[in-house]
């Protein structure tokens, strides 16, 4: 009796979950297939899961004419690496210090951090500070700095990990053995906090790779600093951008008329999402752990 009930449940669960997984993945499938479809077929039949004619032309085009895609890739990679390292180091150091119960002034620092989670000036004053005071408009800093470098939520998340999972006695013992504060942090505390550091680094890395806002707002002239997200965004707004921006267009012998716009669009989007799809299987376990930590206890 019990087994039949159980069996029913399992079957229904499988059907529902297959349907939902399918829904989650299908748009990506359409994207990739569209990017591999012959441009003329696309114009005739639209984006489809079953193209009449396949073609690598969109990818050839991307890599041959103009290096804007590869360049944007480069920017995205440098930004993600630099941003992840910097933000993780800054977050970890601050969280570690806040986890010290005997630190004088700790409550003031805590309030200073928590308040940023409750109230913010919003876009207008932030934009004015960054453009008028720090003059980061049209520089690489505008991709790296605003909003992304450190956030209160990650600091608090990491702080509670230090408090709960890195025993103060071990740190004290290291200190008695003659280690300085900096050594205690790098040699003892940070290695013990590796799981949470990996999680926060992951959050930061994804945030930097996916960010398009900063470039959209601050890079008004320096399109050469566009990350892949900004390039994609710009192309969605103005497909002509690609033809204007590819310097080698004449050298490649491609006339404007023959640019496979419809498929190139999707090929570029595929190029933008591919790195995420490739690393996803390796990071998702850690990512899930991170969400659980953050969701259950903020």
């Amino acid at each position: 009796m019990k087994t039949r009930d159980e069996k029913h449940f399992q079957i229904v669960a499988h059907i529902v979950l297959i349907f939902l997984s399918f829904t989650a993945v299908v748009p990506f499938v359409l994207l990739v297939i569209s990017s591999l479809t012959d441009n003329d077929v696309l114009i005739a039949n639209g984006y489809s899961f079953t193209p009449e004619k396949w073609s690598f032309y969109a990818y050839e085009y991307i890599f041959k004419t103009g290096n804007s895609v590869m360049h944007a890739y480069g920017i995205s990679i440098i930004l993600t690496l630099a941003g992840t390292v910097l933000s993780t180091v800054v977050t970890t150091m601050l969280a570690y210090v806040l986890s010290k119960p005997q630190l004088p002034g700790r409550h003031i620092f805590m309030f200073f951090v928590v308040f940023t989670m409750l109230f913010n000036g919003g876009l207008v004053p932030t934009y004015i500070v960054y453009t008028n005071i720090f003059n980061i408009k049209n520089t690489f800093w505008s991709l790296l700095f605003p909003g992304l470098l450190c956030n209160g939520f990650n600091v608090m998340l990491m702080k509670s990990y230090f408090v709960s999972s890195v025993p103060g006695e071990i740190l004290d013992a290291a200190q008695i053995d003659g280690a300085g504060e900096w050594q205690v942090f790098t040699k003892v505390a940070a290695p013990l906090a590796k799981p949470i550091i990996a999680t926060i680094a992951l959050f930061n890395g994804i945030a930097y790779w996916n960010d398009w806002m900063n470039g959209y707002i601050y890079l008004t002239k320096r399109t050469d600093l566009y990350s892949i997200q900004n390039l994609l965004n710009r192309m969605m707004v103005n497909i002509q951008f690609l033809s204007q921006n590819s310097h080698n267009i004449q050298d490649a012998g491609v006339g404007l008329a023959s640019i496979p716009l419809v498929s190139v669009r999707m090929a570029m989007a595929t190029a933008g999402v591919l790195p995420v799809l490739i690393v996803y299987p390796f990071i998702q376990g850690n990512f899930v752990k991170g969400i659980t930590l953050g969701g259950v206890k903020g």
Partner: protein
């Protein structure tokens, strides 16, 4: 050793720690505190040459203008209503999926979970391309394949307001369910398994176990998550409302939220006064809501809450 001397030595001991905290604190100062004085701009007529503090003070005029327009109502309505629907739809679906995953015996459940979480990892720019693949008027899958198969006329999706509430709710659910589901799943997996065993022994069916054990025990988590979401009800996902509808003017009535309004005022229309008034309106009400919901969360269970 005298106490002052000991105190000084004590302080000296902490100097490396203060130095370690400095970069993070300095960042918050620049990124979160330095903009705050700029909020007075909401009460000024902004003049770029005179700067924030040189600009003329005009009291509540910006707010008067803002609330005299239709926009103020539309952006407030859109922001709040979408968020309310998001909360309901996402909670129901995420809890439902979490229960299915928790009860599933097959090892495939890891695969399902990963696939459902995948959209959460993607930037809104990419999402706008994915949506475009389906909805593009000329090349989209829906117009070219589905509508054709049904023998219907193609629809100009990016021009028709009435579809967008559903599209945005769907896209948001598609992107966020995986994330919420992970949190609910963790709670379910934390439930003492012996409760289920004894219920099964008493002859409770699977469905009864879900209704009478899992859901009641999930309730605190659902309440917490909902209240935290209500605290954010005055904020919207800029990418969802700006990128996915591709900033189409014809859709503003159903896609304009406070965040998109502030952005457009600042960078597309150059109407900084109005934009900063709307920004302050959002910051203040948002602040009250975050504090209020957090206070409630802590009343229910002091373990939760942001701070």
């Amino acid at each position: 050793m005298s106490t002052t001397k000991r105190k000084r030595q004590n302080m000296k001991r902490f100097i490396p720690l203060y130095l370690m905290a400095l970069p993070g604190l300095a960042y918050f100062f620049i990124n979160n505190y330095m903009p705050l004085p700029g909020l007075v701009l909401a009460f000024k007529k902004y003049n770029a040459r005179k700067g924030i503090f040189g600009s003329k003070f005009i009291g509540f005029k910006n707010f008067k203008y803002l609330f005299a327009t239709k926009d103020a109502f539309i952006i407030t309505r859109n922001t709040i209503c979408y968020n309310l629907v998001f909360i309901v739809v996402n909670t129901i679906l995420a809890v439902f999926v979490a229960i299915l995953l928790a009860e599933m015996t097959s090892r495939l459940k890891k695969v399902y979970q990963s696939l459902i979480l995948l959209p959460y990892m993607i930037s809104m720019v990419i999402v706008s391309y994915l949506v475009f693949g389906f909805l593009s008027t000329d090349n989209g899958f829906i117009n070219n394949t589905i509508m054709k198969a049904l023998g219907r006329e193609p629809i100009s999706w990016y021009m028709e307001q009435r579809y967008w509430p559903f599209i945005l709710i769907f896209v948001n659910a598609w992107k966020c369910i995986g994330y919420n589901c992970v949190i609910y799943l963790a709670t379910i997996l934390g439930i003492d398994h012996s409760i289920y065993e004894s219920a099964a022994m008493d002859g409770a069916s699977k469905w009864q176990q879900v209704w009478l054990i899992t859901i009641p025990l999930l309730k605190p988590t659902i309440i917490m998550m909902t209240m935290l979401a209500i605290g954010r009800i005055f904020y919207s996902d800029f990418g969802l409302f700006y990128q996915v509808p591709q900033n189409q003017g014809a859709l503003f009535n159903v896609t304009n939220t406070i965040d998109t309004y502030v952005y457009r005022g600042l960078l597309e229309l150059g109407d900084i006064s109005m934009s900063s008034a709307a920004g302050l309106y959002q910051s203040l009400i948002g602040f009250i809501l975050v504090l209020g919901s957090n206070w409630l969360v802590k009343k229910v269970d002091s373990e939760y809450g942001l701070f």
